[in-house]
Point group: C2
């Protein structure tokens, strides 16, 4: 039974990886006229993969499976979970979701370009209606998994069902409580930083040769552990990581020839995702286990490398002379001034351009709003106003346009409700994992300052990467750190960093 | 029935195009470590496409189809042909062929690298045995198609069955007769050119900036009619054209920074293939009709653009000042000297590097040898000697190594017996088509000299491209030119060209 199951899963994985190659090409090299045909090809591959996976035979193989190893037990558990969820949704809903999202994304693009929220509003309303329908179908499954103690409000139960797709096992109530603690600590911290004199970052806003930026970023990514034998980096409008199997994991970035941080931190961020995907144990390949434990755990790896490593002083002790050699105009900029500049905290309007601290206030806002949208407490028409109010409340700034406000992100047009919180959950995890690695390895700062990235990589391989989905996010975190998710370590890290770089006491 | 058939064919086309994207990526951008996984993904896509196409339901839809338009009649005829052929071969033979070819190609690479024919010989023998098995299964189908007048020898019947895959409708006997005439005219022509003083081509063998070569070639390709809205060019070790549907047809080339003709003529050659694939009528998309009428017709388009257009004097009347502007060292080289240099005739060892004339002697040799190998008249062990004898006989030169001899081409390792002749058949067609276009358009030379490539493109679109496989190769040729395949026009063209460029009388 397990052999038949594995063969089918390998076929489904091949189809999924093939679709990923087509999507990668679409974002990197495809000529403009190829879009329509490409959309059809991807839809065909995804449809066949869905058919082969939801085949009743897979359910029978799962029911008859008698796994004897930990890995096989994990395989059956995770595959059963995916299969139950995939077979719950009627084909009509799956295709209606796909079509509604495609239309909503087109409407979202047009609305953002012309700052006309009204163009997007009916599509958002319909996508939310489908999300509610999906949530109501999935709720019983999520409830059954969580056992008799699970008793959420009706609204939370719906949001849980969607959140569970991205962050299996997470609950709205506990995320809300974590975010409440985070907000309590973060808002005054941002205010303190905003009151202090802002670090000078003018030397980052000058011409940086694009090829030299590319070479520097890729060299760092490779030294951190991203394998170019099993990956490559290309340009795309929006940076992303994609996997065609553990042996071919690709990243993309974009380069701003007049602002250094754009390409560099996006390169390191995506490399963090890529390093995770390259690090799954070989036995996981071709099965649903060869994926991140959750989006949060995935984000913990990208944020760990982007923020904990590459925005930290010790890393630049090693890297800064190398950077200065490539960009001679930095010769007169002291290292500490450079590190302060790439850590400048400043409330702003756009999430993806936000600094390490204010970023989470953007996520908190989205978490609040999407829960209210899903429950119906917030009518779609009121979203623009609620957005501006929330921005003022959390960040002290508000957009003049909806294009810079509630139309800035693609996620809702895709029906991806429950996705945003994982960005922050992953960041919280990243500090918990960092602290554990720091303890286990007897201090990371000295290693990074010496350019020795192997021990950190080895620790992450052992405690996070190799497991893929064979452990849940909670198991990964508890086994590696001894604790479940906790906002306190990140707050302590953020506070210490702000104090140090802003010379606060 | 036709709707169900069309849906299935569109699905099979999507799977085939997806596999083509993966193969393209494999040759252009894939990191080295991705090869194994990629091979598996492509095999999965090809297997599923084969299963969906050979499904008995397709046979039932074909039997029940009542096509009412010419296009639908062509669709049913061509699909029936492909389906009959695909369902004739047992799954065991299909997978054995795929595996044997994969092993043979590895052995061929190793044999070529170390000049050790013995490493390849057993694999070639096995691949030939499978080719015989396939031919014997397909023979009755080919015989039935050709009617009661068809009475080949046993050896020719086998070769016909394989040739028919690449050049539907062609017969060994008529190809042999055409090639006999070609040889008769060509051998003295090559000898005459070889006796005359060779044109100086030293100015082609100096540094040519690779980026400037790329830009010049791509600009020409686009002006000739290759659309970059529906295509793109990348680098690969071996130039090729691939299609992901009519709206995304890609070409590759390679650049020699110290020899101008390599990249330029390969760019124009592949552009000719690409222009054909971009020109299928939209109604053919997603069906087996959206492909070349035959490999010969396909090659007629690449050779027409490469040789008739881009090695011709009139083209360079327009193009040469542009080339000189990009490469100032050509300022002192007269146009006529340049045209003579890119048309230099010289017997040599390697087919893919051969000039426009001697190229066909390489093909004639392969045609003779592969027929003898298939029939068993030539034992595999005797191939290296037969190759050297044939080269001496046809070209007056012979290789010192098998790597430069019978191991130079990949085709036989792939089991592709019957493929080589299409290179020459297509070249013969290219001149027949050229002459017809020249007549219909009232003279091509003046148009090309003025850089007006639209009329030629329009003529080819109308008479060749738009039909795809809705006409057979013979129908395309007869409808466009009034004649079937004929070696005489090419011989007349070649003779006139040699006389003109070599100042012979």
């Amino acid at each position: 039974m397990l052999d038949a199951l594995r063969d089918r899963l390998a076929e489904v994985a091949d189809l999924g990886h093939a679709a990923a190659v087509l999507e990668w090409d679409q974002e990197t090299f495809m000529p403009p006229g190829g879009a329509e045909g490409r959309g059809r090809q991807i839809a065909t591959l995804r449809r066949i993969a869905h058919e082969r996976f939801t085949d009743p035979a897979v359910g029978e193989w799962l029911a008859a499976a008698r796994p004897e190893t930990d890995l096989d037990r994990a395989l059956v558990r995770v595959t059963r979970r995916d299969w139950d969820r995939a077979t719950l949704l009627p084909a009509r809903l799956v295709s209606e979701k796909a079509e509604a999202s495609a239309r909503a994304m087109e409407a979202w693009k047009a609305a953002r370009e012309t700052d006309a929220f009204a163009l997007f509003a009916p599509h958002l309303a319909y996508v939310l209606a489908l999300a509610r329908e999906e949530a109501d179908l999935v709720r019983p499954l999520v409830a059954a998994e969580r056992g008799p103690g699970y008793a959420p409000s009706a609204a939370d139960a719906r949001y849980d069902a969607l959140l569970d797709e991205y962050e299996p096992g997470a609950s709205t109530a506990s995320v809300a409580e974590t975010f409440r603690q985070l907000r309590e600590g973060l808002v005054p911290l941002v205010a303190a930083a905003a009151e202090a004199p802002a670090p000078d970052d003018s030397f980052l806003r000058v011409p940086f040769d694009a090829d030299a930026q590319w070479a520097f970023g890729l060299d760092v990514a490779e030294r951190l552990g991203y394998s170019l034998d099993h990956g490559r980096q290309d340009r795309s409008a929006h940076p992303f990581t994609t996997s065609f199997g553990t042996t071919d994991v690709r990243v993309t970035t974009r380069v701003d020839p007049a602002f250094f941080p754009t390409a560099f931190f996006s390169t390191v961020h995506e490399a963090g995702h890529g390093i995770y995907e390259q690090g799954f144990a070989p036995g996981l390949e071709g099965t649903p286990l060869a994926d991140g434990a959750s989006l949060g755990v995935h984000e913990s790896q990208s944020r760990l490398y982007e923020n904990l490593v590459a925005r930290g002083g010790p890393f630049w002790t090693w890297a800064y002379p190398r950077l200065q050699a490539r960009f001679p105009h930095l010769a007169d900029v002291p290292r500490r001034a450079f590190v302060r500049a790439v850590n400048r905290v400043e409330p702003s309007l756009i999430r993806v351009e936000a600094d390490e601290l204010t970023y989470h206030l953007h996520v908190l806002l989205r978490f609040e709003l999407e829960r209210a949208l899903l429950s119906g407490d917030l009518p779609v028409a009121d979203l623009p106003g609620a957005w501006r109010d929330g921005m003022r409340d959390l960040l002290g700034v508000a957009p003049n346009t909806d294009a810079d406000g509630c139309l800035q992100d693609v996620h809702w047009s895709l029906g991806a409700v429950g996705y945003f919180p994982t960005y922050t959950l992953g960041t919280l995890m990243s500090v918990q994992l960092w602290n554990a690695a720091d303890r286990d390895l007897g201090g990371l700062d000295a290693l990074l300052a010496a350019g020795e990235f192997g021990p950190l990589l080895g620790w992450l391989r052992e405690h996070v990467h190799r497991w893929g989905r064979a452990k849940t996010a909670d198991e990964v975190l508890r086994d590696a750190t001894g604790s479940g998710l906790d906002a306190a370590p990140w707050l302590a890290y953020a506070e210490a960093k702000v104090k140090r770089l802003y010379d606060l006491s």
